[in-house]
Amino acid sequence: MTGGRENVGIVIVSHSPLVARGAADMVRQMVGDSVPLAWCGGNPAGGLGTDTGAILKAIEEAWSEAGVAIFVDLGGAETNSEMAVEMVDKGRAGRIVICNAPIVEGAVIAAAEASGGASLAKVVATAQELSPT
């Protein structure tokens, strides 16, 4: 988690720590240390699920003044991420976006975009182009 602090950060939230970590590995392979990146997966007891506290920590870890784009898998990851964003202090919450994009492809494409110094809006738009509607 060194370097690239000025670039948009990426957070990956899956129900499974293996999925989250695997997606993060793929991001790192693409962009190295040039974007802040954090992941979390699993419920507070370590099983499959989501953990709002862990999401908050991941946002903190990947924080960039340029903002943070969050990638989620299924419903609970999205709802818990929304809850986490509401718990972040107000000055930051406006610079965090939960993306409507596939978790792996979205995170990789967003990170590639972010590594070039793109704005949060551009990073999010590029990832969301992957999702129809």
Binding site: N43, P44, A45, G47, L48, G49, T50, D51, T52, G53, L74, G75, G76, T79, N80, E82, M83
Partner: protein, 211 residues
């Protein structure tokens, strides 16, 4: 829960809150397997375990919660549920309690109005509506009964009927929606836990002679 926002006696209220939390924890613990079975049929099978973890966390903090003013305790309890349930139910139940707490802090609102607003907030959080086969199918009729000032004892006997109505519904939200028509014929686990908790709170209100 209904008129306890104006407790005659702060000490009674604190003791009552502690008892309600324990009763809810016990009810969920007893029904954990049934809730998991319901979730296994149309979802991922973790609802009972998740709810149990949430209620255990709440119970372990019941002394701290009981010492707080009611509205504050609701906000703190909502946060505990969000942080501990570990599934979509966390933000949904958490939002319900957080919004009840916030609503009670607004002067001039009666509990039924506060509850109604909180239920709307849960619907927004889940981006769902009544009829989607979720816990909202218990919360909305429950809110209507509160507005009609139905006695908690009667309400305790009615809420399971609301959850039963979800059996014939087709799921439109959550993982059960992936099953489409195959979700018909199963009770929604969120509606089931919601009915269970509502009945438990209503019974505690009845026992405490609050109505």
């Amino acid at each position: 829960m209904i008129v306890i926002s104006e407790p005659g006696n702060a000490h009674d209220c604190a003791a009552w809150m502690g008892r309600v939390i324990e009763a809810c924890r016990d009810a969920i613990a007893t029904e954990e397997n049934r809730l998991c079975d319901l979730d296994r049929a149309i979802g991922d099978g973790d609802h009972g375990t998740n709810m149990r973890r949430g209620l255990e966390a709440l119970a372990s903090e019941r002394q701290r919660l009981s010492a707080m003013p009611f509205a504050e305790a609701m906000i703190a309890a909502g946060t505990i549920l969000v942080m501990n349930i570990g599934g979509a139910a966390g933000p949904l139940y958490g939002t319900l309690l957080l919004e009840i707490g916030k609503g009670l802090s607004i002067d001039g609102l009666e509990f039924p109005q506060v509850f109604q607003k909180a239920v709307t907030a849960v619907a927004q959080r889940g981006r769902s509506s009544p009829g989607d086969k979720t816990l909202l199918d218990v919360l909305y009729p429950l809110s209507d009964e509160l507005t009609k000032h139905t006695h908690p004892q009667r309400l305790a006997g009615k809420v399971q009927g609301f959850a039963d109505m979800t059996i014939e519904m087709k799921a439109l939200r959550g993982r059960a929606s992936f099953l489409g028509e195959r979700s018909v014929g199963h009770m929604d686990p969120g509606a089931a836990s919601c009915a269970l908790l509502a009945a438990t709170v209503c019974r505690e209100l009845t026992e405490a002679g609050v109505a």
